[in-house]
Amino acid sequence: MADPMRIRANMTGDKVEVKVLMAHEMETGLRRDAGGNAIPAHFIRNVSVTYGGKTVLSAQWGTSVSRNPFLHFRFNGGKPGEKVMITWLDNKGEKRTDEAVIAGGG
């Protein structure tokens, strides 16, 4: 099973600032292991972020997003104490959903 994401969601002014780290190989499919065998591609293809049941960001990724991906964005209308939920899905059908409570200003 995939590891949990590290999510930080903070109010900055009236916006929610979201920073996420995801544990994922993001293998390109172009590399070889020590024995010379191709390492199959394994990467996150879809990311979606919801708040209050509404999508606040959705993304499609290719193999060139860095290993252990980082994502930072901002949305309006969020409130401290409420939850942001993030889901990723990779090319092997593996999926992970995590949530974080929005922290107050700072």
Binding site: P4, L21, R31, R32, D33, G35
Partner: protein
């Protein structure tokens, strides 16, 4: 990694002839390093390590929560900055990784071979390399534990112990090894780390006999290395330097590796520990 290197090599030969002044290059590299600080994937390893410390594993189905890292059973806070040190139960000077190996044997019932030579996989995923570090498609329990335990010393002062005769011997042997030149390239640690303000390619080299450099170097390992997409420990740092020195393989948690780390820790005494860091 090999492919990335090849691509980079091809590129290097075809760089456009804009040649901005070298200071600009250095300044931009600094800016790049600064931008990386915004987020450090080492956190992912630290989180796993904290879980693993509490997880029952091995033939004895035990956790590591009673492991003595030098400050008493189960004390993790501040343990890293006091290592390496002499442990009476093993009669050896040990660094963190060596000591964790001991605890995996005594508490969890792993064989020394399992504890020290191979990374364990919490998920049972297949391992591609046999090196005692995490790599492509494999997790290293050792590395994850190191990440968390090191993070529990963040902000503390580096204060290794050198009061026991064996600690002093390790320090002095480490110093000798630092100056030991051998192999087809005539390299020793001192070749790259004996002078101030030098670089390999664009990477700055710490002079290990200079306290400020040593403090910064020792204080930022373990580190998440973006070039490999992996968290790397101090044992790995020694292993990898020695490989690039064209020496035979430095054995994981061996006396020579611990002597070198003891020497470096002592050189860095008084510095502030700020790891796991994020590095090239």
């Amino acid at each position: 990694m090999r492919i990335d290197r090849v691509l980079a090599g091809v590129l290097a030969a075809t760089l456009p002839c804009l040649s901005p002044a070298q200071q600009d290059t250095q300044k931009e590299i600094e800016r790049y390093r600064q931008m990386l600080q915004e987020s450090n994937p080492a956190e992912l390893y630290e989180a796993r390590g904290e879980e693993l410390w509490k997880t029952r594993r091995g033939p004895r189905n035990a956790s590591l929560e009673r492991c003595d890292l030098g400050l008493g059973p189960g004390v993790v806070k501040g343990a890293y900055v006091r290592l390496p040190r002499y442990f009476a139960d093993t009669g050896r000077v040990q660094d963190l990784e060596s000591r964790l190996g001991t605890c995996m044997v005594t508490l969890q019932g792993f064989t020394p071979e399992e504890a020290g030579r191979k990374p364990f996989s919490g998920t049972g995923a297949p391992m591609i390399t046999t090196d005692p570090f995490s790599g492509v498609g494999q997790r290293s329990v050792m590395t994850d534990l190191v990440a968390w335990i090191a993070s529990e010393s963040r902000g503390m002062t580096i204060a290794p112990s050198v009061s026991h005769p064996k600690e002093r011997l390790a320090y002095q042997a480490g110093e000798r090894l630092f100056y030991y030149r051998a192999g087809p390239y005539d390299f020793g640690c001192v070749t790259c780390h004996g002078e101030e303000g030098k670089r390999i390619r664009l990477q700055n080299l710490p002079k290990m006999t200079n306290a400020k450099d040593a403090q910064r170097a020792f204080g930022t390992w373990p580190g998440y290395r973006v070039s490999e997409g992996e968290l790397r420990s101090m044992q790995w740092r020694m292993w990898e330097c020695v490989r690039q020195m064209r020496f035979p393989e430095l054995e994981f948690a061996s006396d020579a590796s611990i002597a070198l780390i003891t020497y470096l820790a002592k050189q860095a005494e008084g510095g502030t520990f700020d790891a796991p860091a994020i590095k090239r």
